[in-house]
């Protein structure tokens, strides 16, 4: 093979040459993998604890299962080693050829791009019509409750993702404690409404401002740290807030949480089955679903507000400074940008949207407790941002749908029972599937679903910037 490109030439050289050697190395490799599998299966697979008739626990050996697992791993690994390597090399060659062609021709706007242009109106349309769609799909107002609730949950995460996207995606500050601001917002509403009787519509902005205030308070000492150090300190901050909520019993009622938080009203009109309630005012038959649907549109509006503000700020000097900060902090300083203040604005703004989402959470649940604000929550929101492609609004929305809606869909895979037997519960495998999906993402789309960046301004046509050039920030 005398390939013209240097890349292909090196590729062919790297390939293990003699087929005979291939065979033995594959055999060795497969043997090693089998050994590892065997080692792992001793604590995991080989025994199962069962209960006997007399309610006693006993160990049931399952060596057959171990054997099957080992044989499977051996066969798979062997085949993969023998053919997989060749296949991967061939693919690599094909890809480098394709890339060489692509750089010579003017970068075409790919299918993905055109899909993306379509995605926004489709998403918006579906989001707006969602309660109606689920009404028809479920065949009734009360029956559609599950779907609308799911929609609300997804939209909450979309909003949180968009809020965190300002901090992580635009400014490049890795914040592992975002849930702290969510908690501040939720408790702000819970406390203000239960102690002072303030209405939700007053508390909503107040919660946002309080969260932003906490963001600045945290940001001042913390933002001189960079990268991993920043991540660790924000992580700790998230935990501190949660621990304060648990332990400051006089204020927060500790782990028991705050109950009977006032419900949302239709701009002052309560959703009750009485004279002067929402239903009677509009001449409708009373249904608790009115409130749920209102909550749906409320969170949709709040999420879109977050999106609007973010998109708007990206085109203003402050947004450009955030992105510049993510690209190169030292260069920013040399251009006279006050990096500390710029980071603080990003942090505070992200916190504000987190706080607003938090007070929405409180009004929807009618109950808040520290349990809802654990690290897993922060991790989920961060995963949404990273999965979506840092900085991409559409990507974050898609990722939120996948991350929140996806596991929920597992509940509905009843037909799998027919395949795997009655005892099979797909829900038990959600973390496994989740892990698999994450690994797959890292392999195929390490920069997230939508990795390219849209420039904020252009003289001629706006050209998307490849994700390979965009930095992820390190502080």
């Amino acid at each position: 093979m005398n390939a013209p490109q240097p890349t292909t030439a090196t590729m062919t050289q790297q390939r293990p040459a003699p087929a005979n050697g291939d065979f033995t190395t594959a055999l060795k490799d497969a043997g090693l993998a089998t050994l590892v599998t065997f080692g792992l299966s001793i604590p995991i697979l080989s025994f199962r604890t069962d209960q006997s008739q007399a309610n006693e626990l006993y160990l049931r050996p399952r060596w057959g299962l171990v054997l099957v697992a080992c044989a499977l791993v051996f066969a798979l690994r062997f085949v993969l080693r023998l053919y997989g390597v060749r296949w991967a090399a061939a693919r690599q060659v094909a890809r480098s050829r394709k890339e060489a062609i692509r750089t010579t021709t003017e970068k075409p706007r790919g299918l993905a791009h055109r899909l993306l242009a379509l995605a926004v109106p489709v998403f918006l349309g579906v989001a707006l019509a969602f309660p109606l769609l689920s009404y028809f799909a479920a065949g009734g107002l009360t029956e559609s409750r599950y779907w609308v609730d799911l929609g609300i949950l997804i939209l909450t995460y979309v909003m949180l993702g968009w809020g965190l996207n300002i901090v992580v995606g635009l400014a490049g500050l890795l914040d592992l404690g975002y849930v702290a601001f969510y908690a501040v917002g939720a408790y702000s509403y819970a406390l203000l409404s239960t102690t002072f009787g303030l209405s939700f519509w007053i508390c909503l902005p107040v919660a946002g401002i309080l969260a932003a205030f906490w963001g600045i308070l945290l940001g001042f000492p913390v933002l001189r740290l960079r990268g991993d150090y920043l991540a660790i300190v924000t992580l700790a901050f998230g935990e501190i807030i949660r621990l304060v909520l648990i332990n400051w019993v006089e204020l927060t009622n500790g782990g028991a949480g705050i109950t009977s938080i006032p419900r949302v009203s239709f701009f002052g009109v309560p959703f009750t089955n009485e004279e002067g309630g929402f239903a009677s005012l509009f001449g409708l038959e009373f249904s608790p679903m009115h409130r749920v649907i209102f909550l749906y549109y409320l969170i949709l509006g709040l999420a879109l507000l977050t999106n609007f503000v973010t998109l708007r700020l990206r085109r203003l000097p402050v947004g450009r400074a955030w992105e510049a900060l993510r690209e190169d902090e030292i260069a920013c300083r040399s251009l006279g940008i006050n990096t500390r203040n710029t980071k603080l604005t990003a942090f505070a703004l992200g916190a504000m949207f987190g706080g607003i989402a938090g007070s929405f959470f409180a009004v929807r649940q009618g109950f808040v407790s520290p349990e809802s604000f654990n690290f897993l929550e922060s991790a989920t929101i961060l995963a949404i941002v990273v999965l979506g492609g840092m900085g991409s609004q559409v990507g974050v929305a898609v990722a939120a749908v996948l991350m929140v809606g996806g596991p929920e869909m597992l509940r509905n895979l009843g037909f799998l029972k027919a395949v795997f037997g009655e005892g099979f519960d797909p829900n038990e495998y959600r973390l496994l599937l989740f892990g698999l999906a994450m690994v797959a993402m890292m392999v195929w789309r390490p920069r997230g679903l939508i990795s390219h960046r849209e420039p904020s301004v252009a003289l001629g046509v706006r050209k998307a910037i490849s994700g390979a050039l965009v930095k992820e920030g390190h502080g």
């Binding site: 503000v309 708007r312 700020l313 203003l316 000097p317 402050v318 450009r320 400074a321 992105e323 510049a324 690209e327 190169d328 030292i330 260069a331 920013c332 300083r333 040399s334 251009l335 006279g336 940008i337 006050n338 990096t339 604005t345 960046r453 420039p455 904020s456 301004v457 252009a458 003289l459 001629g460 046509v461 706006r462 050209k463 910037i465 490849s466 050039l469 965009v470 930095k471």
Partner: protein
Amino acid sequence: MRWLDDPILDMQHLTMRFGGLVAVNDLSFKAARGDITALIGPNGAGKTTVFNCITGFYKPTEGMLSLRHVDGASFLLERLPGHSIAWKAKVARTFQNIRLFSGMTVLENLLVAQHNPLMIASGFTFLGVLGLPSYTKAERAAMDKAKYWLDKTGLLARADDPAGDLPYGAQRRLEIARAMCTEPVLLCLDEPAAGLNPRESHELNELLLSVRKDHATSILLIEHDMSVVMEISDHVVVLDYGTKIADGTPAEVKHDQKVIAAYLGVDDRDVEKVEAEVGV
């Protein structure tokens, strides 16, 4: 000497130590307003460290750096916070290893450089969110300035391309354009000709000369390429191991025994012998 009369930058007894290492040792010199002052010296002489002190990335161990504007305003650079040096004292710089915002377009790079005036025009974002005409006008002016510099550096055709996609020489020019968008009175260039081919290097000379002529910007230049240094600079300061060993016009410095010795890496006394050997 001209640079003693109306210096834009007056550096006195600058010393910078890193632990036991003295990177800059009691360096004093003046750079005249409107001059191109070159700072040269062998590798590791401490040139970049001097720049880092001027632009606030390092706090000098000792010494004073005073900068005076035409209107008489004067600044003690070692006391200003980093970002004020660019914004208030109007000192801009480029970096030895290029630092562009590579994931942003060329145009965006130049708009980021005009952050502070745009920030004020946008009412610290609050008015900008509303899209008031005063901000739109300021943004248009910023775009015009960006276009002017793109035109001057020959990058106008690539305005919408990501900065990271530009070839090396163009990235160097873009970094200068970006620094110029901050309207500096003093522009510090750290090896702007490194890695340029002779034609690009010639274009760079033209660009720097026009910057000085048309924009009332004085230039402080670190450069290893002697063709650039000798051709365009008015005043040369030579550093070796952090100490100033010569200070004068290019012609004077060129024939200075100490400078030749430092560049050839030999003792003062052996210069003639070595020169004869290498045939200078």
